[in-house]
Assembly symmetry: D2
Homo-oligomer: 262 residues x 4
């Protein structure tokens, strides 16, 4: 892999995000219904954010948990995308969904549970969309880069890595956010890396602190979960920012930007 | 899930394995060529073992590592199966391979990296073959049982769990074999559980000790890697038993059986 | 360190325990009062066990938890030792207690929390008593052997190692019992190693299974917690065997012995 | 414990450090000789830092590794303290050293290996000096706070906590710096908490990034290792900043301060 740093994190005809800009992605854990997604999408767009996350196909540990709205979820995401001029980031869990996703999704996400699903990586590598590759719960930094290599060697160089915490004995957080991975990745790979403090910590009360820390550690962006009514969220309510606290975080990030190095 | 213990681990028209028998599975990490597989298959069969493992589709961390012989590997496995009257256990990495596997494979293995690939679990649940479900590197016992529930609730109750070690800070072994999972699973689930000391430890010098310990802890069987020439194996040579040390282990297991409770 | 295996695990004028015998140690987490200790000591002795454990100085995470009876606890242990002809195994937490311990204690235990308290190791190395050195929660096997080297190089070669589990993400057990450490230690060190399944698992329902598995893995002995009334124990009740289940375990160990190699 | 936040981190007749100031501590892993310590102390002082770290009694995993200059090291620290008007932070490993330390040391450090050495904590609690309590390798945040409670309940409320990384499976860093502990501690405890990125990461190339990230996460200070000639350091050379890179980090911290909240 060429280790020269890429200046552009992600590029679309109408939006180019450079490392200097930082890539900010926000939205709910999952698309629950049209009203929910539109309320959140509107707030995200008002904050100046252009990338909306939201799960349609949800990989859930418990087979009896809410599995996502699936095709219907994608349709709602597409509508929100058009109405609010937002790019859609959502997780793909099976290669057979690729045609469906190509119609709607701007950034394909490979979730932590699928980081080592090499068959999926090989198939998604052929897609002409950027890919957000999340670090597995128990993946080393080297294994994350190897997984990215499945994408790059398969033809897709628009890979964005995402640190989202690793499993440790600590139970105060859902996972242990390993921010050291950020400067390490930047030393050995040209790929951009962003941080997801929502899934890592599982606690909305420290998401903002860890988001800012991630940026100062060198992250090229942040992905956070936002919900207009976290206690009623169908998944991950404990880690979702309210619309107000999300706006505060966006303000804090703007305030911090002059300090950040490119 | 019904918590009454199943007496039969796995059942075929010509072979029934009960908990009292224990399920023993052996073979190489991957099918390398016809000669290699046949030499190992012959030795396995001579030891009285009826289940041959061997990878055809290999999920490898590094995209440039040997990825398995794939369809050709399945064909060699089928031939060995017929010649030596062995049942074939091999890993499926993508749902699109199901028809191919149904023609050759007696027990479908879901590997550790795919334990939380719920999409694959849902598809494989529809297959009328027993499924060997390996614990993920970083999966809790509860998550292993939840993954099994994807199979059971999807219609396949012939699930065999497999403890194969979890990731910890210890570097003397490849993973840390968590034998406590064996008696715990047996207390809360009717599913059989076997132990894979080869992948857990990554060291052939302690595989036999841990295999015997696993059986005494209550495991319903053992899966081990065997190779006629471990230093030349295309993968996992360090953890493969030689044919001689494999025969010794089989003898030790026979000697231990009177001490095991059903 | 000389890697020739020691045949004798521990030796006193009246009791010699060889590897063939195995070293069995049992008793309560802590000495609570004379009546409690005597009831348990009597049952331990009746089972044929000659080594009684019991904490007098307890290192507790919470400063407001019961800290042990201290000097009074030692006095009760001494009395029980004389009445039932038992050797006493108890933990020393500070070098200043050495003279006090030398009067009462037959085997000095260094607890998991103090395995890397090198100052304590250096002081205890000068004592002419066997030392039971427990593996730290987060110590590698190599670090355990290095800690032992503080004792051996300090002049005390009567060291007995003890595997008691390491910290991992798994929450079904208190720690993860790493039985692989047993055969590994035996390959690289002449020191005996025993297993403590009580502290490792924290669950009395799997202690016997893991004790037997430990012996089959090659352990030179077992240490377990026993209490005549576990629900009322002042500490670690959940992991203590009742007197009845303890007697069953002793019977199981006797039944297994012919299978065990020396 | 009173959860009202303390405004003063540490206070001496001539120096008061508030949370707004942040506490910066720098120096070598160990005192090697007078010339070494003086060169580093001079550079530390020139950077405006008033707290010098340096080990005199070193807890080393290997008994044959350099164990520190001990009393001679304390004497050199005292001399440097006087010459450069620096406060001395050094680790105490045994309660019997308290009188010796009281004569020289301004902040008593309890190292990670001794966080759960409750006997030492109880003794040091009686000292009228601030105590820097490092988180154990495998201690949860709750256990760190419980260890602090041994100090506070023992009479010493001048406790400063220190996050220094926990043990995980990741091998790219020496430990995994758990910066989430910083905002969590601040929500549930009035005690200040600083970050030690040198011991956590073990790599000088990411120490500055993680130091800045720690401050943004809310840390009340930073402790880093500095050496005038890292490749020749008797311990921890790989993680020591050079005098130049240390000065750069101090400059970066100054540049960051306006963005930090109090």
């Amino acid at each position: 892999m060429n280790t020269q740093t890429r200046e552009i994190i992600v590029e679309f005809p109408d939006i180019v995000v450079t490392k200097k800009d930082r890539l900010l992605i926000a939205g709910p854990c999952s698309v629950e219904n049209r009203d929910q997604l539109f309320r959140i999408a509107e707030a995200v767009r008002k904050s100046g954010i252009r990338f909306l996350r939201g799960g349609a196909f949800k990989p859930r540990t418990n087979p009896y948990s809410f599995q996502g709205l699936q095709e219907e979820g994608l349709a709602i995401l597409k509508e929100a995308s058009e109405q609010f001029e937002l790019k859609i980031v959502t997780e793909i869990v099976d290669a057979s969904h690729i045609p469906l996703f190509e119609d709607t999704v701007d950034i394909f996400q490979i979730g932590a549970r699928n980081m080592s699903n090499f068959h999926l990586l090989k198939q998604v590598a052929r897609v002409s969309r950027p890919i957000l590759l999340k670090r597995g719960f128990s993946a080393t930094i080297e294994e994350l880069l190897m997984a990215a290599e499945y994408l790059v060697s398969g033809g897709n160089t628009q890979v964005i890595l995402c640190e989202r915490g690793i499993r440790t004995f600590e139970t105060a957080t859902r996972a242990t956010l390993d921010l050291s991975s950020v400067p390490i990745v930047k030393k050995i790979s040209p790929l951009p890396i962003i941080v997801d403090p929502s899934h890592a910590t599982g606690r909305s009360d420290i998401v903002a602190s860890m988001a800012l820390a991630g940026l100062v550690a060198g992250a090229d962006g942040i992905m956070v979960e936002v919900h207009h009514n976290p206690p009623k969220a169908l998944c991950d309510g404990l880690q979702s920012l309210t619309l107000e606290s999300f706006q505060s975080l966006v303000n804090e990030i703007e305030r911090l930007k002059p300090f950040l190095s490119v």
